[in-house]
Subunit: 212 residues, 2 copies
């Protein structure tokens, strides 16, 4: 046995819907002398419940999860404990979610393809309340800065556009006139700097504004 350090171990909760990923992270974390996994969650609601129960030092959170997605979990956990230390970890690299999570108070954000060392450093950083963001992610978050954001209504319209609906169809579904639908589409095009609706969908997808 290794001598136990004076400091307590960093208590970590893992939340990810892939058992494989949880196993991988758990194996990595538990191999470290200074940290341990105290619980694992497979969906958003479980993550919130387990956070409340264990009050860990760090919550490692996948953005895409069943029941409640990452952004919602971040929100809820910070309501429970405004000082919560959350490390977002995902395969996803669109910039909208990154921005949302970080601006809501997540302490770190990194991608799943990060090497072991980087993941462990990130957990340590976040546990000490230091922000951690991998370089590529930081760049994207900066890119997102200054770009106009879509209104809720525009997002609804955008979603329908992405499904290939016509303006007329969109109007019917949202119970507005075709003219209004056009206006929304137009301002979406302007904000996303796109020439056609199809390009708008491509841009929106790249930014993580919509999921397909």
């Amino acid at each position: 046995m290794v001598a136990v350090l004076t400091r307590k171990k960093i208590r970590v909760i893992l939340a990810d819907d892939h058992p494989v990923v949880r196993d991988g992270l758990a194996a990595m974390v538990n191999q470290q002398a200074d940290m341990e996994v105290v619980a694992e969650a497979g969906d958003g609601e479980e993550a919130i419940a387990l956070y409340e129960q264990h009050q860990p030092d760090v919550l490692v959170l996948d953005l895409r999860m069943p029941k409640r997605d990452g952004v919602a979990v971040v929100q809820r956990v910070l309501e429970i404990n405004p000082k919560a230390r959350i490390l977002i970890m995902t395969t996803y690299d669109g910039d909208e979610d990154i921005f949302q999570c970080l601006s809501q108070g997540a302490k770190g954000y990194l991608l799943k393809d990060a090497p072991r060392q980087e993941i462990l450093s990130a957990i340590r950083a976040v546990s000490e309340d230091r922000p951690y963001t991998s370089s590529g992610v930081a760049a994207k978050a900066l890119q997102r800065m200054g770009k106009p954001s879509l209104t809720q209504r525009e997002l609804n319209v955008l979603e329908l556009v992405a499904q290939g609906r016509s303006n007329k169809d969109i109007a019917r579904r949202l119970s507005i006139t075709e003219g209004t639908a056009k206006t929304h589409v137009k301002s979406i095009l302007t904000k996303l700097d796109a020439i056609s609706r199809t390009e708008a969908v491509a841009v929106a997808h790249k930014r993580g504004l919509i999921r397909l």
Copy 2:
């Protein structure tokens, strides 16, 4: 120590670009008495090289990888050893890749969010040359059957359509006339059963015909 069985252990190679996932799978596999990980690859080329070197019983392969993607690896490995037993494992659930891999000779296909037991069963099945396909995946592969496939040219056009290019722009890039571009777009729409180009992009994405 547990008594060693008469049978040899199933020798497994893991290929995935996420260190976390490799760790998770390795931990799961090595805990089993009847299997062991003999090598791990982080990209397609490495996977091929390690396969050649170790000639494992099972190759567990992620579809999306740097350097060379899953489909290409399946092809190459089966050239090296036509009896190779390959288990495709991915987060991706579009049906095009599933179909491609299975029709090329991969023995199994499952999703990363599968529970531990299912993953292990799949490895065992494939190691005995029995096909394994999780139910949801099988359904999608069947769906794909009978649906018209796009020609190479149409796929090129589709890619440009997905980027939001206009017919005129597509024509210029492919050095064809706008009329011809329209013809291709039209037959894409017909084959994908879409009304507009934007819907075509949505369908194509869902089917895994294109990546964004």
